[in-house]
Amino acid sequence: MTTLFTSDHEWVRIEGDVATIGVTDYAQSQLGDVVFVELPKVGRSLKKAEAAAVVESVKAASDVYAPISGEVAEVNDALSAEPALVNSDAAGKAWFFKLKIADRSELDGLMDEAAYKAHTA
């Protein structure tokens, strides 16, 4: 299991052919209290860098982009009921959606944890 990151503060956990996507703890700390999350529909085909979800904090709405292309296999309905999970457990319980990976070569464009840490330093 590998976790990769985008420069736009999404994390991508790779398990076989499935990528689980969420936003980073750094992102949630910058967003502030999250009050609403809009998730993509299961079955939707997403292209890399396409707006896939929306996270609304008390301050503003922000798009969450698809870090790679793929079909939405599952979404985290717990976030609709409890958006504050994004603040309390961004890297864990607050995953947003899972993608069936369409093109593994797109993973090469993502950062590893060390590179992401440097990016947010």
Partner: protein
């Protein structure tokens, strides 16, 4: 996701800037100032703490102006100011304060402000983004009768919430005797302050004008009380939105009249048709006729039916399918005290409270209920 990056060069600082930074304030540009949008506890907790205990807000970026009558009679300053606002200023008794608007020739609002009678002169508090224009407007129109004296060497601190009185009374016993919209010079912690019992949260509370060099000492003395947390601009906005209070430049501006803005309660009978000093302010024809026959559009409260906040700029439609836009949202966000999204916007006056309209958000039509404001009952000590 995109996270905003702020350019902080060229920003002005209030006398409490160092304290904000030391207190962990997240600083953002606002009206030309580097201001705290939130502290470590976050907007949600800051908001709820203000409603349950007390919050301290730095509003030093706002403009403070003394309007001094050359005749020495404060009534002359009041009559002079009445040439620029549709309010009855002559009736503001010494020690009292009133909400007012500067209007333009078309009846639009140039700024909204507070006017206090300090016995010898008037004391005005205006919006930060408008203060230079307001000063110029006062000078251009009132210089014959008044000396216009900006007070940039004073900070302004708001203390809001149910514990505000008990907290401030420890530094100035007199404040317990004040009621809503009382205002005047007071000694607070032995400092020469101006205190008003008013604010921008819907809660009981005070605004304290203090000499800039002593502002930090006073803020620290207030924050030393366990009931008080520092509050940033984020919670200031959600608090005023829940209270149904207008944000200038958003809910009201030079293109909206006080009647369209649902502020006719602030225009006293003496300035209306048949009143002792009817009209005589910019845009009087338009405003007075709207007071009699109504305006075509009106600011209303809006409660989104779902959980998604509907924010400023969202277009409003009469139903889920119509392509005919009938209005737009001017302020919107999440209301922590009612744990639901809230908004304000303009709609044709035919849309009654209780009806449904639809906002377009990310390609979807979301229903909103037209609602009375405030969304949270105010707790002013009248």
């Amino acid at each position: 996701m995109m996270l905003a990056r702020d350019d902080r060069s060229e920003l002005k600082r209030t006398p409490l800037h160092a304290l904000h930074v030391a207190s962990g304030g997240k600083m953002v540009p606002f009206a030309g100032y580097d201001m705290p949008v939130q502290y470590a506890s976050g907007v949600l907790r800051e908001h709820l703490h203000t409603r349950s205990h007390a919050g301290l807000f730095d509003v030093s970026h706002m403009g403070q102006i003394a309007l001094r009558p050359k005749s020495g009679r404060v009534e002359d300053a009041a009559l002079a100011l009445e040439q620029l606002v549709p309010q009855d200023i002559l009736a503001v008794a010494p020690g009292r304060q009133r909400y007012a608007q500067f209007t333009n020739g078309a009846g639009g609002i140039l700024d909204d402000l507070m006017v206090a009678n300090f016995g010898s002169h008037l004391f005005l508090v205006v919006n930060a983004a408008c203060k230079a224009e307001d000063e110029a407007h006062l000078r251009a129109n009132l210089s014959e009768t008044c000396v216009i004296e900006p007070l940039p060497d004073r900070a302004l601190i708001a203390l809001q919430g149910p514990k505000a009185e008990s907290v401030l009374a420890k530094l100035c016993a007199d404040v317990a005797l004040m009621r809503f919209m009382d205002a005047g010079p007071r000694s607070v912690d032995r400092l020469d302050c101006f205190v008003s019992r008013s604010g921008y949260t819907g809660e009981d509370g005070f605004e304290i004008s203090v000499p800039a060099e002593h502002a930090e000492r006073l803020a620290k003395a207030l924050l030393g009380n366990g009931d008080v947390l520092p509050i940033g601009l984020g919670a200031r906005d959600s608090l005023r939105l829940e209270a149904g209070l207008c944000l200038y430049g958003h809910d009201i501006d030079a293109t909206t009249t006080p009647v369209e803005g649902a502020l006719e309660w602030s225009i006293q009978k003496s300035r209306r048709h048949g009143g002792a000093r009817a009209g005589g302010f910019p845009g009087a024809d338009q405003i007075l006729s709207q007071l009699e026959s109504g305006a075509a559009r009106r600011r209303v409260g809006l409660r989104p039916e779902g959980r998604a906040p509907v924010r400023e700029g969202a277009p409003l439609f009469p139903d889920a399918a119509s392509s005919e836009q009938i209005g737009k949202v001017t302020s919107g966000g999440f209301g922590p005290s009612i744990n639901a999204p809230v908004a304000m916007g303009y709609l044709p006056s035919s849309h009654a409270i209780g009806g449904l309209v639809f906002a377009e958000l990310r390609g979807q039509r979301l229903p909103l209920r037209v609602a009375a404001t405030p969304f949270v009952p105010n707790t002013y000590k009248r």
